[in-house]
């Protein structure tokens, strides 16, 4: 699963899952999030723009890592949600627990480590 540092801050990482985020994709998502956390990168944006579907197994992982990152003083923010993915989050009541932004840049700007001159 592709991940890259945010253009304006190496402390903020963007994860870019693609395609169906079903139960089969869950181990990859888990591995990608854990790999970032092991590098003490605790400000993560998950860009869901190329994810046309998300299942409960991946939502569960996002929830577990949101809690973990917040406890470590970081956060996990979501962005670019396709309509169907946004709908699942809404039904699951997760839209109230995650910060959700229209774009990666807007999500990145919401982190304290985003450079002030860009804010």
């Amino acid at each position: 699963m592709l991940s890259r540092p945010c253009e304006d801050s190496a402390e903020i990482f963007v994860l870019l899952p693609e395609g169906r985020l079903d139960a089969r994709a869950a181990p990859d998502l888990e591995q990608a999030l854990t790999a970032l956390e092991e590098r003490n990168l605790n400000q993560i944006v998950v860009d869901l723009g190329k994810s046309r579907y998300i299942s409960s197994s991946c939502l569960r992982l996002l929830l577990i890592h949101l809690r973990k990152l917040k406890q470590a003083g970081g956060d996990l923010k979501l962005c670019s949600l396709p309509d169907k993915v946004a709908k699942v989050l809404r039904i699951a009541g997760l839209d109230a627990l995650f910060e959700i932004y229209p774009t990666v840049e807007q999500a990145a700007r919401a982190f304290p480590d985003y450079p002030q001159e860009h804010g």
Partner: protein, 150 residues
């Protein structure tokens, strides 16, 4: 009896092994069925999600990750409902024993599990399990179909 009446029955079946990779095959099957049955976007979405969650549960919990189990899916129209039955021969579970999450709970109190069953029940009009020691497990889910536009 009206012999001039044409009776059209729509019934679709798919049988796959219990591999996670087959979730894509199942999803493609549901998409094709939804098109054949002229379901709208909301109904298609509900059917897709509920069937995916149900089959992922069967693979992960009923067959406990073993890839040689069988999952049989049947979709048909009964009156105004789309009825999906999913059959497996995996381990029996008690759906009532799985607590559904409180989706209004704050992060600190939010349960991680139970979301798959919650979504199935929320998206479909009815969800029923039947467990039989010899014949296997049958999940029946119904979704009301919108009336055809006049």
């Amino acid at each position: 009896m009206d012999f001039g009446q044409r009776i059209v029955t729509s019934e679709f079946e798919l049988s796959v092994t219990s591999k996670m990779a087959n979730l894509t095959v199942i999803s493609d099957f549901v998409t094709s069925v939804a098109k054949e049955l002229c379901l709208n976007d909301d109904q298609t979405f509900a059917l897709q999600m509920a069937v995916d969650e149900a089959c992922a549960n069967i693979i992960e919990h009923a067959y406990e990750g073993k890839a040689d189990g069988t999952i049989s899916i049947r979709c048909r129209i009964v009156a105004d409902d789309v009825v999906v039955t999913i059959h497996d021969h995996g381990r029996v579970f008690d759906p009532e024993s799985v607590p559904r999450p409180d989706v209004t709970a704050p992060l600190e109190e939010r349960e991680n599990g139970g979301l798959g069953l919650y979504l199935m029940e929320k998206l479909m009009d009815s969800v029923e399990w039947d467990f039989h020691p010899q014949e296997g497990n049958t999940l029946t889910m119904r979704k009301r179909r919108a009336k055809s536009p006049v």
